[in-house]
Symmetry: C2
Subunit: 727 residues, 2 copies
């Protein structure tokens, strides 16, 4: 990675001190005012956007990009860079301006002028992961905090795993900028509590406390004593009282946070939103341009010419100039260190390099047992997923596997597990890859996004909870899909099969979200073999998250289940007749209902019946039309879907469905399957009735689009709706 002679710079530290302040107060004032005026100009040009934070937090930005953060603007992807996450994503213009001043090639002044503009430049309305200097896409408040926690966890784990005496190749910091919103949102709170527990001293959260929110004064809705709360959550808290103008105090506070060991840092900075405008300190400065008059006023206030736009004095560029050299030097030193590391620790070096491909090493599929080695006795698919966990997670350090307090129920606990914990606690250490997220599903997924985003997907998070609790974190799942990141999600106890826990724990509509989501694999495997197919899909997909829906209850290993065919999304798994004739009926089932469909088909003889297992709808949608038509016998057979979730979405593949049209119940699982109509006899009866209703003059007539029918089954709670004659 380095062309410099190894050893030439040996002895240099990879952890340079924060540079001393090296400019006059006048220059610094000019710099922060330039940022402010630029913010006012750019939002005014667009007549929208968020000027308030640019103007209020200008000094924080200068402290970060000019002094505190270690990064190389000429190589935004440098491995050991500090990471910066703007959790308050709406303040992105503030970040963009500093990326420009710091010398990122992509962030020219012309780029800044595209802020919010129709030409799809990189200056998007919220920061997007694709663009240089942006670590993750943020803007849905609070999640950036979780992302930063995930980055800090990844960094800690890599450091604990790969650093060697004299080779601190991972020793960066993670900076997270938050506003009131991030601290009010539950996901922010969960994430902070987790970070405090894990004692992530490589994480520094900066709270831009400007006391103003969209609707006005924060005092009308949020009166926590935030500093006290952060202390109670295990943070080292540092106060800055004039964050608008006291650059020295900000630098001192950030430096103290950076130096603190054993606790994450929380720097509580009071600022004045929209500073310099007559709208300062009001909601009016938050999310709207200031207006031409006001922009003029601001310019006059700060000694700028109101007639000129986008003015950046040479002194300002000069002021940021050292950043470029320092960044290049830092990376160069690190490159030498890393090259030396390669010689001293070739095994670890090779492993790291392999991980930077974002994939497991070739041959990992061979680690999964063949079908012939799978247990034939009925086994819950959550337990079958554990087979993959045991086969892969201990062996490949890429994985960090955890649960929101359901580790054993979801089978993510693996052989040789070491808890990812601060070593001082005695519960584990940072090289551990078993993560106890606590009862914090949303933080788990937001952190997973941070981990996977750390560097080229070198960390693959495995996250687990009951399927119903995935409701709590769908927004993080969506952002994973949107960013092209990945996690491997295990959603266990995925239906009325959860039994006695009752309707709260029986999610029947949740799949509707995940199946509609682009770039997302919602897989519901039928048995252990299909579970391994699901893992193959999840591990093949470098830029797509996967959530497997897994049973609490046992399901048999099916004779014709085939992991290779799972990759097609759906395939024929059984037919109750010999020969090449077209079927008259196709039963499409998923997960734990596939064996029920097979058993039903056996009883439906002589009706020529085929069973299609459809674990991954979106994958099936992408198969060639011939395959899809042939599999479903389109235009030839009646198709009925069987799944104990809502019918929504099934009309794409079937003429009718055996679905749940109401919420579940609390009772033993088998009782529920019978009661709700998934007993084999009920399936045979309902399907037969349906086929007969469609037979005219001895021939089956296929229904039209718009005639999709929900074959009504058993129990319906009264509040499912006034009428139940759904079709």
């Amino acid at each position: 990675m380095s062309t410099v002679e190894a050893g030439a710079l040996s002895g240099l530290s990879a952890d340079p001190k924060v540079p001393a302040k090296d400019a006059t107060p006048e220059i610094e004032k000019l710099v922060v005012n330039t940022v402010r005026v630029l913010g006012a100009d750019l939002t005014q040009a667009f007549k929208g956007g968020h000027p308030g934070t640019v103007m209020g937090a200008a000094a924080i930005g200068v402290a970060l990009w000019r002094y505190m953060m270690r990064y190389n603007p000429k190589n935004p992807e440098w491995f050991n860079r500090d990471r910066f996450v703007l959790s308050a994503g709406h303040a992105c213009l503030w970040q963009y301006i500093h990326l420009h001043l710091a010398g990122y090639d992509a962030w020219t002044l012309d780029t800044l002028k595209q802020y919010h503009n129709p030409d799809f430049g990189i200056a998007a309305g919220h920061p997007e992961i694709e663009f240089p200097g942006i670590e993750l896409t943020t803007g849905l408040l609070g999640q950036g905090v979780g992302n930063a926690v995930g980055l800090a966890m990844a960094s800690k784990n890599l450091a604990a795993t790969y650093n060697k005496p004299d080779f601190p190749i991972v020793d960066n910091k993670i900076w997270c900028f938050v506003g009131d919103g991030c601290l009010q949102e539950g996901v922010g709170q969960e994430s902070l509590s987790l970070a405090g527990h894990l004692r992530l001293d490589n994480l520094i959260v900066i709270y831009d406390d400007n006391s103003v929110t969209v609707d006005g004064s924060i005092a009308t809705c949020f009166t926590d004593d935030t500093s006290a709360k952060m202390k109670a959550m295990g943070f080292h808290v540092i106060e800055v009282y004039d964050g608008t103008n006291d650059l020295t105090a900000i630098i001192k506070a950030l430096d103290e946070a950076k130096a603190t060991k054993g606790k994450p840092g929380f720097v509580h900075v009071r600022t004045i939103i929209g500073f310099g405008s007559r709208k300062q300190n009001t909601g009016a400065a938050h999310g709207a341009a200031l207006g031409e008059d006001e922009v003029s006023y601001v310019k006059q206030m700060f000694g700028f010419d109101p007639a000129k736009k986008y003015v950046i004095p040479d002194e300002v560029y000069d002021y940021f100039q050292p950043v470029v050299k320092r960044g290049a030097d830092d990376e160069e030193v690190w490159n030498i260190l890393y090259a030396q590391y390669g010689k001293a620790h070739p095994v670890e070096y090779a492993e790291l390099e392999q991980r930077l491909t974002g994939r497991l090493p070739d041959g990992w599929k061979d680690d999964l047992p063949p079908k012939s080695a799978l247990p034939t006795a009925p086994q819950a698919t959550r337990k079958s997923a554990g087979i993959a966990v045991q086969a892969l997670v201990p062996k490949y350090k890429h994985f960090m596997a955890g649960s929101a307090d359901l580790m054993e129920s979801t089978f993510v606990n693996f052989k040789g597990q070491v808890d990812f914990q601060c070593p001082d606690t005695g519960f584990g250490d940072y090289s551990g890859r078993q993560i106890r997220y606590g009862i914090r599903e949303f933080a788990m997924l937001a952190a997973a996004n941070g981990m996977n985003a750390y560097q080229k997907g070198m960390v693959i998070p495995v996250c687990s909870s009951y399927f119903a609790f995935w409701q709590y974190c769908i927004s993080a799942c969506r952002l994973s899909a949107l960013m092209g990141l990945r996690f491997i999600g295990l959603g266990t106890h995925d239906s009325i099969g959860v039994g006695e826990d009752g309707p709260t724990h029986q999610a029947i509509a949740l799949a509707g979200f995940f199946r509609a989501l682009p770039n997302f694999n919602l897989i519901r495997p039928a048995d252990a073999e299909e579970v391994l197919g699901a893992w193959e899909i999840a591990l093949d997909a470098e830029h797509t998250p996967t959530l497997m829906c897994l049973t609490r209850q046992g399901v048999p290993l099916l004779e014709h289940s085939d992991r290779a065919k799972v990759h097609k999304g759906a395939y024929t798994i059984f037919a109750n007749y010999e020969g090449s004739e077209d079927p008259e009926l196709v039963l499409i089932a998923t997960g734990s209902e596939v064996w029920r469909a097979v058993e039903s088909a056996k009883k439906l003889v002589p009706l020529r019946t085929r069973v299609v297992s459809m674990p991954l709808q979106s994958r099936f949608d992408r198969q060639p039309a011939e395959y899809r038509r042939a599999t479903l016998a389109t235009g030839k057979a009646l198709a009925v879907a069987i799944e104990p979730w809502a019918s929504y979405g099934w009309a794409r593949y079937a003429h009718a469905s055996m679905s749940l049209h109401t919420f579940g119940l609390s009772a033993p699982q088998e009782t529920l399957f019978e009661l709700f109509g998934y007993g084999i006899d009920t399936i045979v009866e309902k399907v037969s009735q349906f086929v007969e209703s469609r037979r005219m003059e001895g021939k089956i007539v296929l229904p039209e689009v718009g005639d999709f029918e929900e074959l009504l089954l058993g129990y319906a709670k009264k509040h499912a709706g006034p009428e139940l004659d759904l079709h």
Copy 2:
């Protein structure tokens, strides 16, 4: 409501003091041990369930149901009862046992024996709202806290609105029992922060701190200083160090919390999970039966006969006996007070009685302006929803309207608004019905559920945020539907029409969840007239929540839009030809795309084209088959859906759709509609191509089920998937 002479008991307080402890320590020990042994027996009988809390928190239960809470077991629906919410819903057996001991008729010993059993008794695996003594369905951790906050808000509002000097007809307390999980979950944190801000001193949160969670010691995942944190959030915190056995200390603490003014109470009680078993203080006691041997051991420990099951000594029943009389007396006193109130304040009394119907007074529909009075210039549907807010919310005290910090953007701020705030803050008072939830969407909806559950739906919450942020609270929306509660939700900025905020704020899959959810109205109205139809549906539906998807951008008032027809879910809004011939093409559109469909149809002449507006799919599904077939011209015309969300679900109604198959982008809204293919010319072109592709020998051939086509439109981000040839 009372048959007792008014005045007969005048002078009695409606707020009786907590009774003095009136039993010997021996009896009390017998009582708590009976609860413990019963818990061990009942879980063992089922071989599952949660014995740990029953045994650890027995004394807390006794303190609550025997001493602290004001309620009438013979009338669980008494208006002024204290409300109890078990946020840690898995511990329901603990509550059920106390309901039995307290004398609730429905909660017999036989009922308790049905715990988790297959006969669908009321002793469900988590508490369910339908059953006596249960205020809300809980079990998805953390949400119960929000429910309790909502109950406390409703109580405060009713008290401030209806109490008069000498008539404290609303002066109850809200009790909430939480475990570690509720405090870790983000929704719990949001809700507590909100309660602290609102200074809800009628709320008392009891933390059963047993240091053990499903996965083991809480110390491995949660190390907040919870008491300090609660103080920082504005709670009055009281510590109880031996909550397992020190009943006196528990009562004293709860009494102090009850008496505290100006702050909600947080009683931090340390208990030993599974107390009395050798599994005590371990995860093994949490969620599994103890085993026969262990149950015997527990019985011996507590001086019970191991050979006998379900033993409740007479002394235990005697001990609880005073509760029944006290409850009856309390209600009687209140009934007299309420009767007197009726005479002294007949207007308020009548209003209260009307509200207890759970409906608005007859004639409310006349408050909505007729179509002829609606603005014809293009107007955003979020603004049109504000017409209903202004027409209804100021007039009817049933409504409490709020937002998660987007009050002005979502138009829920209404004429004459008073903020719901503690009067000491100077920001408003508790009679206010404008709620500033802060940036806490999930708490907003969990609180809404509590408000609507307060008493027969007498409070109707209106909740608002950007549609994308409804991702944060889908689980509370689902629980609302499951419980048969209602809220009126406004999800504004509902598509790529949000523009520059970009893909994070452009939810395209979220409707998939809500449309799949039973007993839920997801309505996407096309214009102001349809918006008013949506409000009518929401207000007609007493036991169904509604979420309206509303635009940021203006849409015209359509010539044939009709609020009455919105009630059918879908209807013909335009045809581009005269006469009664069947159409050749049906364009189905929703919301802001309906006018685009109409304009497109005009250009599609001479192709006989009908436009169907489909604001509420689930309502359309319940129309008679003839109506559905006639509206969609089933079997006669090609149908194409137009909506800038994912195509998922449209195959039920259409042969093809113009959908988004990728996430959005940051740019001005009109640019996005053009880029993504929703310009009129593009629609005409794509639809024409589709029709032509289906024309054989001059005749349009309708595709089969399984042949649903996604008409590919414009821009697709790279990570939408490797291939884009969706059908």
